[in-house]
Structure formats: structure tokens, C-alpha cells
């Protein structure tokens, strides 16, 4: 087994243990959706209409609160030195950390989405486009988020700062992701275009975020 797969497997093991991030993210996602539904009230048509955007925003916020832990725990117990000092390129290690974050946070959020979609009375036609857009967009959220986590790893209580750094970078993914979900539900041909732009945003993050994370981590090891 390579060092990278060892890091991914260990992070997954930790995420699904008691106190791990996966359950917290899914729990937070559910709470956001429930609170939204309660706040809108009994207007079922309105809830159906906003279901896609609410689910997208909820998934984004749940990702946001889980970012702080990507590197912080490793730094606090000394593991960051260990995983940075493998013979692998640091950018590849950063990519592995982002992949582990997506597998432990993004994927569980996507799996929880159909259940929450029932709560939000999402129309049957809207499930596929919503899940597709989340599948393509959430890896981008993890990648960009892991860069912000790397940048702030040596600062205390950085989770608010991470939110501030990351939010503007998340905007394209949110617009194209929620746009794809709505267009797909309405049978609008814009669906494919939105999805492609969303894919482009995620691919751009896949190339740049690990490299930027490596630079940030290197200076934070100093």
C-alpha cells in the first residue's frame, strides 16, 4: 500500500470513529434543511421550489464547518510532520487529504441528500440532476477547503477565518451547482452547460488546490 492510500484510509478510519467529522457534517446538513423548512412554514409549493438551492447551500455549509479539522488534528498531535515527511510530493499528500475529506464528508452528504429531499418535497424529476451536481461539485468544495485549512493550520481557532477565505471561492461552485440542479429539474437545456462549468470549476480546483496547499503547509511546518 502506498503512503497516499495509507493516509486516506487512516483519515476515513478516524472520520467514522466516535467524534469523527462525518456524522457531525451530516447532522449539521440535516439541521440546516430542517430549520429552513420550519422557517418557510406550510407553503409546500414554495418549499418544493427552493428545495434544490436549500440542499445545495446546506451541503456547502456542512462542508464548511468540517474544514478546520482537515489538518488541525494532524498538526496538534505531530502527525503533520510525519505525513509531510514521506517521499511523496507534498502536493500529492495534500490531494490525498482532500480526497479523504471528500470521501468522509462530501460522499456522506450526498448519500443523506435523498432523505432530506423528501423532507423538502423535492419533485421526482429533480433528484437525478441534484445528485449529479452534488457529485461533481462537492469534490471542488473539499479541494478548495483543504487549501484554506492548510493556509490557517498554525492559527488558533481558525474556523471562522476559513469560512471567510473559502466563501468567495465557493461562489462559482454554488452558482453552477444549484443552477444545474434547478435547470435539470425544469428540463432546461442549460443543465448540461451548468454541469460542465461545475466540472471545470472542480477540475481547476483539483489542479491548483493541492499545489497551493503544499506551499501553505511547507511554510506552516517552519
Amino acid at each position: 500500500m502506498s503512503a497516499l492510500s495509507a493516509i486516506i484510509l487512516r483519515d476515513l478510519q478516524l472520520a467514522f470513529r466516535a467524534g469523527g467529522g462525518s456524522f457531525q457534517a451530516v447532522g449539521f446538513f440535516s439541521i440546516v434543511c430542517v430549520l429552513f423548512t420550519l422557517a418557510v412554514g406550510p407553503d409546500i409549493a414554495l418549499i418544493t421550489e427552493i428545495a434544490g438551492p436549500v440542499l445545495w447551500t446546506g451541503a456547502l455549509l456542512a462542508t464548511l464547518i468540517s474544514l478546520d479539522q482537515i489538518y488541525r488534528a494532524d498538526r496538534e498531535d505531530g502527525s503533520l510532520d510525519v505525513i509531510a515527511a514521506t517521499s511523496e510530493e507534498l502536493a500529492l499528500t495534500a490531494a490525498a487529504k482532500a480526497a479523504a475529506h471528500w470521501l468522509s464528508t462530501g460522499l456522506p452528504l450526498i448519500l443523506a441528500t435523498p432523505l432530506l429531499a423528501i423532507l423538502l418535497n423535492l419533485t421526482a424529476d429533480a433528484y437525478f440532476p441534484l445528485l449529479m451536481s452534488l457529485l461533481i461539485g462537492t469534490p471542488g468544495l473539499s479541494l478548495i477547503g483543504s487549501f484554506a485549512a492548510a493556509l490557517t493550520v498554525s492559527l488558533p481557532r481558525a474556523s471562522l477565518l476559513i469560512s471567510i477565505i473559502v466563501s468567495p471561492l465557493y461562489i462559482p461552485i454554488l452558482i453552477f451547482g444549484a443552477g444545474a440542479a434547478s435547470a435539470g429539474a425544469a428540463g432546461d437545456p442549460q443543465f448540461a452547460a451548468n454541469l460542465k462549468l461545475l466540472g471545470a470549476a472542480t477540475l481547476f480546483a483539483a489542479v491548483t488546490a493541492p499545489l497551493a496547499s503544499a506551499v501553505a503547509l511547507r511554510s506552516n511546518l517552519d
Binding site: 503512503a3 484510509l9 478510519q13 505531530g78 510532520d81 515527511a85 514521506t86
Partner: protein, 219 residues
């Protein structure tokens, strides 16, 4: 520890470590100022000096974890070929044990074995070498300070790197455990490994060189 025990966890090496005119700053202050030293295969060095003298800084620089201001660090094999990447030749064991509290002792060891691509039987050998067999399934977060340190030091054996850089290895260890560590370090050097150990403890390691660091000046 008997010979077969330690022979199964220690592998042979032939790297030389040299530093020339090494200077390093931390937080704007020059900590290490023009240090030069060479360690041949099989040599041990014990770094001593007051707090703030730069022991940890020097170890982290050798490990490739810190930027150096000037000078050079070179690692080369006996045949003269240079090791470009310090991560290939060094293992740094800092004051933190890099142990995941939520994982068991064995899970931590197996993660490192996978990270360093170590053969599977090395996990049980390393565990036995540091007398951790009784705690194999225990969650690492519930270990005592000394046991946690022993687990952290077991990483040295799994990494199988020629150059050990160890920061305060025995600070929380009892006499018997400290003896386990010193005997492993001696075995490591007997087969051509290098060990640099920063410590405040009275520490005897056969054939070790003492390097005294002074605050803000050259050694």
C-alpha cells in the same frame, strides 16, 4: 533484549550526513549560526544545550522540515551518490508522538507500516521491541505518557531510515524503557545507521559524540 529480537527490527544502512556552515533563524532570530558537522555511518551524536539553544531546530532542519538561511545539508551513500530528498534518509521523532488517540496501538503501528511501506511482520516486532504487546488493542489515547512515548518511538523501527533524529526520547520513559531505546539506537548504529539525539537527560550511548549547542552561537 536478545540479539535476534533486535536484529529483526533493525536494518543495515550506509549514509553519511554532513552540514556545512548551517545557519537557521526562527521568528526572526538567528538560532543556529554557522554549524558544521559530519556524521559517518554508524556514528551517534548527542545534542545538548540549554533551552532555546536550537536542538529541535537543528533536528527539524536535518529532517527537511525547516528552511535553512544559509549553508548546506548533504546526505550521501557510501558509494558517493547523494540522497536528494532528506525524507528518504531521515526519520524525525519530535516531542509530539504523532499518535492518533482514537486509534488503537496496533492501528497506529499499522498506519505507519503502510506509510513507510514496511513489511507486515515489522508491526509485531516493533511492538514487541518497545514492550507494547499487552496494549496492542488499547486505544492510544488512553495510554500513559510513557507508553505513548514508547509507541511514538516505535515509528523509528517501522520507517527503517538510516538517520534517526530524535528529540528528547527518554524524557517521560522509565529506566527500563530508556534502556530499550538506547539499546535499539546502539544496534541501529552498529549496522551503519546514524542517530542524533537531543536530550537533557544523563544519557549514555556507547561511542556517542557530544555536541554542545550554546544559545545564539556556533557549536
Amino acid at each position: 533484549m536478545n540479539e535476534t529480537d533486535s536484529a529483526s527490527v533493525i536494518s543495515a544502512h550506509d549514509c553519511r550526513l554532513s552540514a556545512k556552515g548551517l545557519s537557521i533563524s526562527r521568528g526572526g532570530a538567528r538560532i543556529i549560526n554557522g554549524i558544521s558537522l559530519t556524521l559517518e555511518p554508524g556514528e551517534t551524536a548527542i545534542l545538548r544545550g540549554p533551552n532555546g539553544a536550537g536542538k529541535t531546530t537543528l533536528l527539524r532542519a536535518f529532517a527537511g522540515l525547516l528552511r535553512i538561511d544559509s549553508g548546506s545539508i548533504g546526505i550521501e551513500r557510501q558509494d558517493g551518490s547523494a540522497v536528494d530528498d532528506p525524507f528518504r534518509a531521515t526519520i524525525y521523532c519530535g516531542p509530539l508522538n504523532a499518535v492518533k488517540a482514537a486509534l488503537s496501538v496496533d492501528e497506529n503501528l499499522r498506519f505507519w507500516a503502510a506509510l513507510y511501506n514496511a513489511p507486515g511482520d515489522l508491526v509485531s516486532n516493533a511492538r514487541a521491541a518497545f514492550r507494547l504487546d499487552d496494549y496492542a488493542r488499547q486505544s492510544a489515547g488512553t495510554l500513559s505518557t510513557g507508553l505513548g512515548r514508547r509507541l511514538g518511538l516505535a515509528r523509528l523501527l517501522l520507517a527503517r531510515k538510516p538517520i534517526w533524529l530524535v528529540d528528547e526520547p527518554t524524557a517521560s520513559l522509565d529506566v527500563a524503557s530508556a534502556a530499550i531505546f538506547t539499546s535499539l539506537a546502539e544496534r541501529h548504529c552498529a549496522v551503519g545507521g546514524i542517530a542524533i539525539i537531543a536530550t537533557h537527560d544523563a544519557f549514555s550511548l556507547s561511542g556517542a559524540r557530544n555536541i554542545e549547542l550554546k544559545t545564539g552561537s556556533a557549536a
